[in-house]
Amino acid sequence: MNPLSVVVRTVCDLFAWFMIVFGVNVLLHGYVTPGGGFQGGAIIATFTAFLLVAYGGKRVAARVNNKLFDLFEEIGLIVFFILAFLGFPITFFFNFMARPLAESASGILPGVGTVALMSAAVGLEVTGALSLIILTMHKGIRMFKVEPLEQETGHER
């Protein structure tokens, strides 16, 4: 993919960061709004797609490290699992942090408990995974320069 014109790149510079902020907002308010981890993560991952379209594959591939997204994915998954596992003396997935609404002085937050944390973990996971999907699929296009498929060593063809 070739980089687009200077107009697009400038707009990308200006607005791309707002997408991340918006995504984080959606992600963190997942427990009270119709948003949540997946939606927020998908919005943040749009940032990667945006960069790819505006700046072209070569530059993004040089700058972006796939290991970072791998790390995001792993941290999200493991945090999610640990949060679910911590409810174990009662049940798996039990919301052990939640308190009844009446006990708390201020609003909704204490009633939420692990749901908000889980939604953040899912958001991290989806960010990493979707960005990885986008980058990997872009790497797989190779529309003009056809490279041979990497050969596996195990079986003869």
Partner: protein, 115 residues
């Protein structure tokens, strides 16, 4: 009668997707048809949970109005959307691999495994 309009649309979308699977030969178009079928099913689920005059099923946002739409079908729809995203990404990746191996997207020519 007008309350049944979403279900009519669901039927139309489902049939359209199904017809497209059989009429189209291009794998990418078939992938689009499968996405259309998935969307029609999601619409079906959301339409199931609607109550007349209902609001968002979130306690502090619903306000005075106590009639809420059913939250369970919405949760189901969200899950189905996530699954549909995963399958679409996988399907498109597989299509890319097929194109690189076979050099074509015509589904009638991708038939080394038969008999």
């Amino acid at each position: 009668m007008i309350a049944n309009a979403p279900f009519l649309l669901v039927g139309l979308l489902f049939l359209g997707g199904m017809i497209a699977i059989f009429m189209e030969k291009n794998l990418v178009k078939i992938a689009i048809a499968i996405s259309v079928i998935g969307s029609s099913v999601n619409l079906f689920l959301v339409a199931l949970g609607y109550r007349n005059g209902g609001t968002v099923p979130i306690h502090y946002m619903a306000g005075e109005n106590t009639v809420m739409v059913l939250p369970t079908p919405q949760a189901m729809t969200l899950t189905a959307i996530v699954i549909a995203l995963a399958t679409t990404a996988l399907l498109l990746s597989l299509i890319m691999l097929v194109y690189r191996h076979y050099g074509t997207l015509d589904i009638d020519e991708i038939r080394r495994l038969r008999g």
